[in-house]
């Protein structure tokens, strides 16, 4: 006989969020903020990226 499997439901809480999703609070302290800017806003604040203005393989 096949073993009965437990089905997991949604892993999120039902309903509408009442608070804003403040992802910026996850980034704490000036060093981490500067690191985040260098990585995520790299187009303007870092040289460590490739894109249309800094191509890995020139067109």
């Amino acid at each position: 006989m096949e073993e009965k499997k437990e089905i997991l439901g949604e892993t999120y809480e039902p309903g509408k969020p009442t608070e804003p999703y403040n992802w910026r609070k996850k980034i704490k302290g000036r060093d981490e903020m500067l690191r985040y800017l260098a990585a995520s806003e790299r187009y303007w604040y870092s040289k460590e990226w490739f894109g249309s203005e800094k191509r890995k393989n020139p067109a």
Binding site: K16, P17, P20, W23, L34, G51
Partner: protein
């Protein structure tokens, strides 16, 4: 549904206004009709006292003014002055923010503080201000002073210009339109369009272009960025929209205009326990704040404050009889508000020394005592609650929406904390799930059915897998129609766009803020270019812009800085240069050669959407991403061959 509006809340209130003998904008439009045909075509000149002059568009009577100015010159002057008016409005907003910012940094503006250190660091780096081992206040003071200096700068380039793609900066340099200083470009438009100065329509337009760029990449951007530092960069927030957000048993205060400086403080005061207790002594159960126009968008984006409506709902909000006070700051305020309010109990309170209205109460905003001004306003509203004339007539219509999509939030949502990125957006454009991106922004105009054009255009775009970015009254219109909810993707979007929206958890229509926040769309476009895969310039991107219900000079300035940034932009309602074939040709055709962006006019929103989609497809073809490509899985041998 009323023929005047696509919004079901409007018809009964328009009828009520008539019954209450409150004259509203549609009545005044009837009284103004037929409107001046020369003015509509842009060929009426009242710049000097030899006039007013007008040019016969049919070529049968006068073909130039008393001074000899032709239809081309007159239309170009009028158009450039519209840009200057719009740029001045946005930029003076930016200046007011910079002044408050400096006062806050100096500790001279009680109640205000720097809320977003990360954005502070970001703007400091944009301005080349050192941050290492410096306090928040020291950095902020330098940012404020540098921002303020951008207005009076006489030479060089505005600092935010360098955020644009390099190729775009080169286009501006080639055409001599890189903005030097914000005020300088506005002043030069006014000088060159004075009687007897610049009489070459192309040359007049070039200065108009420089002025518009000083708005988008200058004054507006300063407004947005400094407000983000002061009040927090927007993050996703759930909100409510439409007149149904007014509450029968609470003190309703409406905040209307564009500068959120005092309103931010009113939000704090309205939540104050002492004020809530005071409201109860007057028979109210609480204090309910709601917004109209862009002050509403600012407070929604950062504080989740509900929006009562957009531009054409300002008078009807009063007609509900439920509004104790309407607090206004600057821009898009109808002078009729105190007259409509006479039929009800609403108090109209002006707060800016730049914007007073006869019949309104004036409580001036001072950064030195903003909490004091806010308390006085809220107290007045509470005192007015018992003066309601009978049972209010609040429509039941209201809708949920998700707002708060700053550039920073989009970047985070697409890439996460480790490495925010526009890569997933670009990849989904390249693989064709998303056909392109459109900015649909701007006002309402009683000449066309309220909200109907916004909603029809946006539905057509998302149906065709075009992701829509919105600001201003356009965003409020689509929010009321339920398009700013993630579930709208399933209901209205094409299968490709719906798939991406579902995966990321975003609506197919993204609310990016107020009208100064169109600068966020510029930054998003620059980020898409820099990320790679979609060309080297904004003009290479499969994107388009529109303002189907525009009415203000600010809309012309916004449209023109998008065109000058390389975006195909189509406006509805009416077009103010049609009296000059040459100027219209310059804007609709020649600018595609010089600035690789151009204007178009199409009053039918669905036809306009199809024009945008056609443009997007043209750009996709130029990028070589117009056809689905077979995905080839490379084995090790093929990879080795690649390397050899």
């Amino acid at each position: 549904m009323s023929e005047k509006s696509a919004d079901n809340s409007m018809g009964p209130l328009i009828d009520k206004a008539k019954a209450d003998k409150a004259e509203i904008c549609w009545d005044r439009l009837d009284e103004q009709s037929p409107q001046c045909g020369f003015g509509k075509l842009g060929i009426c000149c009242r710049i000097c006292a030899m006039g007013p002059c007008r040019i016969d568009p049919f070529g049968e009577e006068a073909d130039c003014g008393v001074c000899g100015a032709t239809a081309d010159t007159i239309a170009a002057r009028n158009f450039a002055r519209m840009i200057a008016g719009g740029a001045a409005a946005h930029s003076d907003h930016g200046r007011a923010v910079a002044e408050l910012f400096i006062a806050a940094a100096q500790g001279k503006a009680p109640g205000y503080e720097i809320k977003d250190e990360q954005k502070l660091l970001q703007v400091a780096m944009d301005f080349g201000i050192p941050v290492e081992n410096r306090t928040i206040r020291d950095i902020a003071l330098d940012i404020g002073k540098t921002a303020l200096s951008q207005f009076g700068q006489q030479e060089g380039e505005l600092l935010f210009v360098k955020k644009a793609p390099l190729k775009r900066q080169a286009v501006w340099k080639e055409n001599g339109v890189t903005p030097r200083g914000i005020d300088r470009e506005i002043v030069e438009v006014m000088h060159r369009t004075h009687m007897g100065v610049d009489q070459d329509h192309r040359n007049v337009l070039l200065q108009g272009t420089r002025c518009a760029l000083a708005d988008g990449w200058g004054g507006s951007m300063i407004g947005t960025e400094l407000q983000d530092i002061l009040f927090g960069a927007p993050v996703p927030v759930i909100g409510k929209v439409n007149l149904g957000v007014l509450k029968e048993d609470e003190v309703n205060i409406i905040i209307h205009g564009h500068e959120p400086l005092l309103s931010e403080m009113i939000v704090n005061v309205a939540q104050d326990k002492e004020m809530l207790e005071y409201a109860k002594t007057k028979g109210a159960k609480g204090i309910n704040l709601a917004g109209i126009c862009c002050t509403a968008n600012e407070l929604l984006m950062r504080r989740g404050i509900p929006i009562a409506g957009n531009f054409l709902q300002q008078e009807l909000a009063i007609v509900t009889g439920a509004v104790e006070a309407m607090v206004v700051d600057v821009q898009c305020l109808m002078q009729s508000l105190p007259i409509v309010a006479q039929c009800y109990h609403t108090q109209i309170i002006t707060t800016s020394p730049k914007a007073k209205i006869p019949g309104a109460i004036h409580i001036e905003f001072s950064e030195r005592d903003a909490p004091g001004s806010a308390k006085e306003i809220v107290r007045r509203a509470i005192d007015n609650f018992p003066r309601r004339k009978g049972k209010p007539n609040i429509p039941k219509e209201q809708m949920d929406l998700i707002a708060g999509f700053s550039h920073e939030t989009i970047n985070y949502l697409l890439g996460g904390k480790f490495r925010g990125s526009y890569r997933p957006l670009n990849e989904n454009i390249i693989n064709g799930r998303i056909r392109g991106v459109a900015g649909v922004v701007g006002c309402n105009n009683p000449k066309v059915p309220h909200d109907e054009l916004h909603v029809a255009m946006v539905k057509e775009l998302i149906k065709n897998d075009v992701l829509v970015l919105q600001t201003g009254c356009a965003a409020i219109a689509c929010a009321k129609a339920g398009l700013l909810l993630p579930e709208a993707a399933k209901q209205y979007a094409g299968s490709g766009l719906a798939e991406v929206c579902e995966a990321v958890g975003i609506p197919p229509v993204i609310h990016m803020g107020s009208c100064v926040d169109n600068s966020r769309i510029l930054i998003a476009a620059a980020a898409m270019v820099k990320e790679g895969g979609l060309g080297d310039d904004i003009s290479d991107l499969p994107v388009a812009g529109a303002a189907p219900e525009w009415m203000s000079e600010k809309a012309i300035s916004i449209g023109h800085y998008f065109v000058a940034s390389g975006v195909f932009t189509v406006f509805g309602v009416t077009w103010p240069t049609l009296g000059s074939q040459a100027l219209t040709k310059t804007l609709f055709e020649e600018y595609e050669q010089t600035f690789r962006g151009k204007w178009a006019f199409e009053p039918d929103p669905v036809k306009a959407a199809k024009m945008m989609i056609e443009h997007i497809d043209k750009k996709r073809k130029a990028l070589g991403i117009d056809k689905a490509r077979e995905r080839v899985l490379f084995d090790m041998q093929k990879r080795r061959e690649l390397g050899s």
